[in-house]
């Protein structure tokens, strides 16, 4: 009976020990459960942060794209303004040139018609050729209708004592210009060019409508002037017409003045004896 009692006690001890072990195991399980729940919670939190970051990143990416677009637009606008600026600068230079040309043409035209004295008109034409065109060696020839030859009436810059030949219509460059009424230019003479009266670098006809009354021959430009410019061609056109009319008008005026003086002399002679008598 005592043996049974001992056996029962032993078994109860073992059972208690087993229960104690189970209790420890359950505690261990509860701790593990708590740890895992914490991890799950942490992971859930972490996932939320990542979502938030991803959203923020997406927002920033869109903002960056927007800024890139704005930068591109600004760059394009800047390029457009740059182009406009260049265009304005170019226009400004062109207008300045036009102003300059108009000033030259206005002055030349004004001066040409400022007098009816033949010598003064010729002097003004020479001034225009020197000061506005920048020629150093040149001559003005007029057509003698009786002989049909061109003769020099004024010149500048040639060697002293130079003999100027009379030139027939259609003879050489000068005669051809007088015949056709078309100007002749070599924009820039070669470096070894020497003044040769029969071969000017420019020959401008002096025309009244289609009638050529003379020519201007340019043989050399001033040292500082390399070649003819756009305004020179405008001046040549102006000279071709205005200088011709100014020269022709002043010549007619001089002739009529001379005739008037002669007639006045005759009248004085005719009337003088009558008044004395």
């Amino acid at each position: 009976m005592a043996e049974d009692h001992n056996d029962l006690f032993k078994k109860s001890q073992e059972f208690l020990q087993m229960l104690s072990q189970q209790k420890d195991f359950i505690h261990e399980l509860l701790r593990e459960n708590e740890r895992l729940r914490y991890q799950v919670a942490s992971l859930q939190n972490s996932s939320g942060d990542q979502t938030h970051l991803a959203m923020e990143l997406e927002h920033l990416r869109r903002r960056l794209e927007q800024l890139e677009r704005e930068k591109k637009e600004l760059r394009e606008a800047y390029q457009r303004v740059e182009e406009e600026n260049k265009d304005f600068a170019q226009r400004y230079v062109e207008i300045e040139d036009q102003n300059n040309n108009l000033a030259n043409l206005y002055v030349a035209s004004y001066q040409l018609h400022s007098t009816l004295d033949f010598q003064e008109v010729v002097h003004i034409v020479m001034e225009i050729i020197i000061n506005l065109i920048g020629a150093e060696v040149f001559s003005i020839m007029l057509l003698d209708e009786k002989t049909n030859e061109l003769g020099v009436i004024a010149h500048e810059g040639y060697e002293e004592g130079m003999a100027f030949p009379a030139i027939r219509i259609a003879e050489g460059v000068i005669g051809e210009v007088a015949k056709t009424g078309e100007p002749y230019y070599i924009n820039q003479a070669s470096e070894d060019y020497r003044v040769d009266f029969l071969h000017p670098i420019a020959c401008i006809p002096l025309k009244i409508k289609e009638n050529v009354i003379g020519v201007i021959n340019i043989h050399k430009l001033l040292v500082q002037k390399d070649a003819f410019t756009a305004v020179d061609y405008e001046l040549f056109s102006l000279l071709a017409a205005h200088a011709a009319t100014a020269i022709f008008s002043s010549k007619l005026y001089s002739q009529s003045e001379r005739k008037l003086t002669t007639i006045q002399g005759f009248l004085d002679l005719l009337t003088a004896p009558a008044s004395k008598g």
Binding site: E96, D97, N99, N100, A103, N104, Y106, V107, A108, Y110, Q111, S114, I124, E127, I128, I130, N131, L132, I133, G134, E136, L222, V223, Q224, K225
Partner: protein, 126 residues
């Protein structure tokens, strides 16, 4: 640059007119004209000017002599002078500048260049 007074010394009426015409771009400017150096000195005695523009080759008294005399006169010694010349040679320009000219312009003149040179001188002189 408004209301400037210029003395233009040129024997050529065409050039005088062209220079004066170009200078009129300065608002309200006054232009006094002289036909040679002697005439210019007379005008300088009676007229107040801010700048002289002179040709070199002129009868009676040339531009170089005028520059020299303007610089010797106490009243006009600081007057800005621009020489305008047909001479392209460097020594002629140097001579003018050595005598006291502030700048030079070669003929044929361009209005825009003339105005630029004048603007630079005025800027330098404050």
């Amino acid at each position: 640059m408004d209301g400037l007074r210029f003395l233009v010394v040129e024997d050529s009426p065409t050039m005088r007119q062209l220079i004066s015409f170009s200078l009129k771009r300065f608002k309200g400017c006054k232009i006094v004209e002289a036909v040679d150096g002697v005439d210019a000195l007379k005008k300088l005695q009676t007229e107040e000017v801010d700048m002289v523009l002179t040709d070199i080759n002129m009868p009676v008294m040339d531009g170089l002599k005028l520059v020299s005399l303007v610089r010797q006169n106490v009243k006009t010694k600081d007057l800005p002078i621009v020489i305008i010349t047909t001479e392209g040679a460097q020594e002629d320009r140097d001579r003018g500048l050595a005598l006291g000219a502030n700048a030079y312009i070669s003929k044929p003149i361009q209005s825009s260049h003339l105005l630029k040179v004048i603007g630079e001188i005025l800027e330098k002189n404050g």
